[in-house]
Symmetry: C2
């Protein structure tokens, strides 16, 4: 059983300007436009079976592989995002669209429960023969998440029933019993979906199946090797077992390796199982992997996986900026994992990481207009890196949509006698703590300001803990309850300040998290950040973008170590942000004309520099950008 | 006609310790060991035709391509290197080996003169059908250079006769006449070889053929496109016309693009033709391309072509250090080109470049033991970049061998009434100037010292110019003739000091080229060198290598801008070198344990730093190395 339970996102209403804007954009623009894209790219029609088999829309690559095999997952993820949107605002039009999709899926489903539109249409004889590359279980997982979300949003259970039948088929197919395949997914995902299904229905068989997939992974003989041997003309996609984290049994894994999204989806499920089953070895593995990734393989933006070639991890401290892959999905997956770790232990480092990934790499994945996306999130660009409307592998689009549509679910947790605040921002929420209904209203302009006002309204006076996260970046935080200052320093335990008292209607907590601008430095073995600094304020990583510095050559900016950095309110930018202004320097190039090498160092000239939050970059056309700025 | 003619390398004897050691190594170790490698890798036996067709030794790659098609060129280049060695020291054993190879080639040659062992053996029906990729004309060029060199060394002309017949066949096949193919090489090389043949025999048809290949290149309709259309199942290797510099007629080319060796071999031939034919448009193109490459696309080490993917050029200022390709062959080819430019105009910048490429990137290509090689020459390594004994594409091995075996040919030029000194080092040489035999003896310990003593011995007192190159790096050079100081500052014209007088037996010139250690900076748009400095002394670029700095982490070294740099004689290293010592700093990492990002900059600790010449790196096992060092 989980020690801490995240608040249901439907119990938390976002009222602050920052998240309200993002959520409204996703509801009004992202979700509807994604439906249009799914339609325009023949992804929806691919569910209509049987029909004459159409040509591939996405041609096979050199490895004979097409990302078209993922399409079921894209539909599942869109239904999930749309369902979260319905919680905010019911919409008969959207529901009719989902119901139509569900009808298609129901029709496509085979009598034995199998449901994968690619295989049913194109190679029915090959189902379950290439778990390593062909994403059947991954697709099933995303459809299942969609079904769970749609049921929660509407109470309509046809999709859930379809998926329960499919899960029954999967449970019959895979396992350690006689005649069963001892397989597991090449792309982890279904594990965490099964746990969601368990948490919805209470059917422990679902938890058992998730645990089977996790436990079986990386055992000997190696399933993917055996499976490849059975295939003729093996489609070889990715050579290493590290790529999909099947190189060792999961409890023995201590380095974060391979494809980042696969890794983090797996760690999410591992943490879920550790909490649900009280599995100390799984918990320990999660903690070891957490330490590894956060100490050696993470971008300051909460991005993960530097390399495009494996969409994942390489070696310690290898964090190039201009070529950073840092897939949006990987940061979303990190938020999932961090939340699951918070279900086990209340450790501020998990929430700090969650917040860092959320406000920086995750948010960067969605444009201001809600209809353009980043798949990879470099920390430096010459202006050629641009947002796209759609992608041959559109995983990140629906991931960022479902994430923002449910973001309020990451703000609070509860335990038997505690209300825990992880994230800040204007909200109105309700909980049940120690048998009492508790309302909470937070007023704040977070993340632009750390001045936070929380009103607590229990239905009756009740003793419980209010645990406020004090971010690691917040030095000298101040707290007052009903105007009475509480000592903070020394009382923060593992990132949380525990205010235990009898709470009564109208109690007011004031929290001040000072947000000075900080210069951040990277470990010296991060070669690409050597001699450089990044600017943060609160949870936000800043960047310098050409659009705000029109007369400046972004690559030639140098920030003197003693340069004053000032936060500046800019109501003219993106509905109001806090920018950073600095008196900086720019390397002069005029006296280098016709010279490539010389024996005198470059001269510099004064410039006024403006930095904006990283997540907002690339919303004003092609623009050079940097997060890490050379110091002098 | 060439305005300036390089001295024949056979007229210049190297007596200084620096070059003596390299030459002796090449004669005693490199040339013989390369023969053994050619034998061991079945390259020599590939010339023995006809025989049952053996399996490929080098399997085809994904593009259906095998570097085995280059083998004729490897043999040609080895014969060229061995022939240069024979000039220094006749060797009946080597000559017998070459004669045996020549017999094989003569037997392989078809009645019509065609001679390409790959095509004759494996696909005779396909000859001259894929000039773009398959190197027939390139192979012919290297065999021809070998034949010219062997004839010059021994006077034996069988190989030359074989190649003259082949050249006749090529001249009949290609051209603008009726029935001729309007083709040209996919890999330039034969052009410069044909000019060598012309310079040996005086047969102007050879010059005409070279000019045809140069003039036809890049004309419309595009030959390679037409040729590819005629092939079934085209083997597509490299997509762009820039790759092989056929994107435009050569006189219109103004950016150095594509495969670096192809480019520089072509520019060499262009400069040759510009000199021989007094072609102003070709000369202008060479000057434009020279300016482009030296101002935007050159490593400080005289390396060229940053990218492995095209073995060549990318974009301006793109000069990454750790992944620098900087092929040894490209630097050797730059020396060729620079020498040809010096035949047209006496410009110190050409000789400066020649010297910079020679003492750094070229020399780095050959190990101290003379039997290990670098193909690519990065300017930074974590220790994983190691020398190899042989390579699937062994072009660089024989290129560096033939180059060092003939290096004395780059020291001097003559014109009607001038003796020109480009390079320094202990030599004994003879020339004919203004009808007088002139002997020259230089005593120096160059490049370790700039103190140079030159004795001039004309057979009779004669007026002529002695033009001494004053390198751009040599500030405050001093010159005395027979003890009498001459003014230098203000009298150096385009890099050369002209001492015109009646020279008599025993005249003595003392030249002092001061060699302070210089910190070199790169243009600020070279991202990888931003905030960094490289150390040079005289023509030598220095590097820091792990072997000399055992307690230091090479990537963490920082050089304060005011750190004293001292030249130190180190008789214990590589038979005696001048190293550089500095009091530097190293970033501390101990206080970073378990931390990836923090808000305080790194601390540093004092270290004693030793730098050695770049060309000597990687001779002491796996070793981290850097040329560009962070400044602070």
């Amino acid at each position: 059983m989980r020690k801490y339970t995240p608040a249901n996102f439907t119990d938390v209403r976002l009222t602050g300007a920052f998240w309200r804007e993002r959520l409204d954009t996703v509801l009004a623009h992202t979700v509807p436009s994604q439906y249009r894209q799914l339609e325009a790219h023949d992804i929806l029609s691919s569910l209509k079976l049987p029909k004459p088999v159409p040509e591939l829309t996405i041609p096979r690559n050199a490895h004979n592989f097409t990302t078209q095999i993922f399409w079921d997952s894209d539909v599942g993820k869109w239904i999930e995002a749309a369902s979260y949107a319905l919680h905010h605002r019911r919409d008969a039009g959207i529901e009719a669209k989902i119901d139509a999709i569900v009808n298609d899926l129901e029709k496509a489903q085979l009598p034995d429960g199998y449901l994968n539109c690619w295989y049913i249409e194109r190679e029915p004889e090959n189902r379950w023969t290439n778990l390593r590359d062909n994403h059947e279980l991954y697709n099933a997982g995303h459809l299942l998440e969609g079904a769970v979300a749609y049921f929660r949003a509407t109470g309509r259970r046809k999709f859930l029933d379809v998926m329960e039948r499919y899960v029954d088929h999967i449970a019959a197919t895979f396992g350690t019993g006689p005649g069963q395949k001892r397989g597991y997914p090449g792309h982890q995902e279904i594990e965490l979906a099964l746990i969601k299904l368990y948490q919805l229905t209470g059917d422990s068989k679902r938890l058992d199946l998730a645990a089977y997939f996790i436990n079986e992974r990386g055992q000997s003989p190696h399933y993917f090797t055996e499976e490849a041997r059975r295939r003729e003309g093996d489609r070889f996609l990715q050579g290493t077992q590290e790529y999909n984290q099947s190189h060792k049994p999961v409890r023995e894994q201590d380095k974060v390796v391979g494809h980042a999204v696969r890794a983090f989806y797996m760690y999410t499920a591992m943490a879920d199982l550790a909490a649900e089953l009280d599995d100390a070895a799984l918990k320990h593995a999660c903690e070891t992997l957490w330490k590894d990734v956060t100490e050696t393989r993470m971008y300051i933006t909460g991005g993960f996986g530097p390399s495009a070639s494996n969409e994942g991890f390489t070696k310690d401290y290898d964090l190039p900026n201009a070529t950073a892959y840092a897939e949006t999905c990987a940061s979303v997956a990190m938020v999932f994992w961090a939340q699951r770790m918070l279900n086990i232990d209340l450790e501020g480092k998990y929430a700090d990481m969650l917040e860092q990934a959320l406000y920086n790499n995750c948010m960067a994945g969605l444009s201001r207009d809600g209809e353009h996306y980043f798949y990879d999130n470099p920390l430096e660009s010459d202006g050629s890196h641009q947002r796209w409307e759609w992608h041959p592998c559109p995983c990140c689009t629906m991931n960022v949509a479902r994430f923002i549509a449910s973001v309020s679910g990451y703000f609070y947790s509860t335990s038997a006698d505690a209300l825990i605040v992880h994230l800040y921002g204007g909200t109105e929420a309700r909980f049940e703590i120690a048998g009492t209904a508790v309302k909470l209203k937070e007023t704040s302009n977070y993340p632009w300001s750390g001045n936070i006002d929380i009103r607590i309204d229990p239905s009756k006076a009740t003793e419980f803990s209010l645990k406020l996260r004090i971010p690691a970046w917040a030095k000298d935080a101040k707290v007052a309850v009903n105007g009475q200052r509480l000592p903070v320093n020394g009382n923060v335990q593992r990132g949380y300040l525990d205010i235990r008292r009898v709470w009564s209607r109208g109690d007011r907590v004031e929290l001040d998290l000072p947000m000075p601008i900080e210069r951040i430095y990277a470990h010296p073995e991060v070669r690409d950040d050597f001699g450089k600094t990044a600017l943060m304020r609160g949870p936000l990583v800043y960047c310098i973008e050409q659009a705000d510095n029109t007369d400046t050559s972004i690559p030639l900016v140098v920030l003197p170590r003693n340069a004053m950095l000032s936060p500046v309110e800019r109501p003219d930018l993106f509905d109001g942000i806090v920018a950073i202004e600095a008196k900086a320097q720019q390397i002069k190039t005029r006296d280098w004309a016709g010279v490539l090498y010389r024996n005198t160092p470059s001269a510099t000239a004064d410039i006024a520099l403006v930095a904006i939050p990283y997540f907002l970059w690339a919303n004003r056309g092609p623009n050079a950008m940097r997060v890490w700025i050379d110091e002098m």
